[in-house]
């Protein structure tokens, strides 16, 4: 898993670009996508309330890892969407939270794994246990990843600023 700075900056860049083509995708929704990009890593709740502890407490197996999956993301996005006020905001909220979370999972796929296969068997739960090949581009502690995301976000920010300046003046 990449760190959150990378995920948030990638979501900012991707959704700002999408906003150039989708009228309603204003900055307020880009901000929601940035929050969405963190949703899958809510599995880190494990650091505060361990899966093992909850399993013992509940008497059934429990694993926070489900939050870092496509199935978990759908439910988390629906929960987040319900917190918006109007029906239209809730629909947009769901799309943008899910999109932000999806960008997180996509960024996580090409990491290095010792057997050369990505852990899409986990990310795609409960759809399939298929493991895609991975190019093995990075591990989460590689410093260049956040730097790359920062450059990407800054370029998008500059182009976005330039376009707005041009259209308003």
């Amino acid at each position: 898993m990449a760190e959150w700075l990378t995920h948030v900056l990638v979501a900012y860049g991707v959704f700002t670009i999408l906003g150039w083509y989708v009228d309603w995708l204003e900055k307020r929704w880009v901000a929601v996508a940035m929050v969405g990009s963190i949703l899958p890593d809510l599995n880190r709740l494990d650091l505060f309330v361990s899966s093992e502890g909850l399993s013992a407490l509940l008497g059934v197996p429990f694993n926070w890892g489900a939050l870092h999956t496509i199935g978990g993301l759908v439910v988390l996005s629906a929960i987040g969407a319900l917190l918006f006020s109007s029906g239209l905001e809730q629909k947009r909220g769901f799309v943008v939270l899910f999109g932000g979370g999806l960008s997180h999972l996509v960024v996580d796929v090409p990491q290095a794994y010792a057997d050369g296969l990505a852990v899409t068997n986990l990310y795609l739960f409960p759809l399939t246990t298929w493991r895609a090949p991975t190019p093995g581009w990075y591990v989460s502690a590689d410093r260049w990843v956040a730097l790359f995301a920062l450059v990407f976000a800054l370029v998008v920010y500059a182009v976005d600023w330039y376009q707005r300046a041009k259209s308003s003046g």
Binding site: W4, A31, P61, F84, G93, A114, G116, T129, A141
Partner: protein, 159 residues
């Protein structure tokens, strides 16, 4: 949707999310033995290959072995490239593709990927993650207000 229905729907979704966590915990998502399978009965898995994610407990440069912990499993990994060992510290984390050996248990490594070389790498990941979270929350609160009483987000500058 009025607020009462919304709270009921939120509760239902939280229950669904909990159910998903239980389902995930019981699902068989790997085609190799899990750390708890090996911890329960190492000899039963002798010779089986696996991909293991483990926290590094200690590194022994002399015997060229790494002691790791993966859930309930404590194992010794041998056959690790000395160049990897030289960079690795207790508190780091690695992935091992290899074969289960004997009853100890030990893992004969074929390929090792270092996720975190030691505590410094973890500190980097946590520090950048805090910056990322602050950025996302800051951007969100710039455009949205949280109405805790009605449990909902409202656009800033609108009533």
């Amino acid at each position: 949707m009025n607020d009462r229905y919304r709270v009921v729907a939120l509760f239902g979704l939280l229950v669904l999310l909990g159910g998903l966590c239980v389902w995930y915990a019981t699902a068989d998502l790997w085609d190799h033995p899990s750390p708890s399978d090996i911890a329960d009965d190492p000899t039963a898995h002798d010779g089986e290959s696996l991909l293991l994610f483990g926290d590094v407990r200690s590194v022994d440069q002399n015997t060229e072995t790494v002691s790791i912990e993966s859930g309930p499993l404590e194992a010794t990994v041998h056959g690790v490239d000395p160049a990897i060992l030289a960079d690795l510290e207790a508190g780091g984390s690695i992935q091992v593709e290899g074969t289960v050996e004997g009853s100890e248990p030990t893992i004969a490594a074929e390929t090792v990927v270092v996720d975190h070389r030691g505590p410094t790498d973890w500190h980097y990941v946590y520090a950048t993650s805090i910056v990322g979270a602050a950025l996302a929350i800051g951007a969100f609160l710039r455009y949205w207000r949280i109405d805790l009483r009605r449990l909902r987000f409202e656009q800033r500058g609108e009533r």
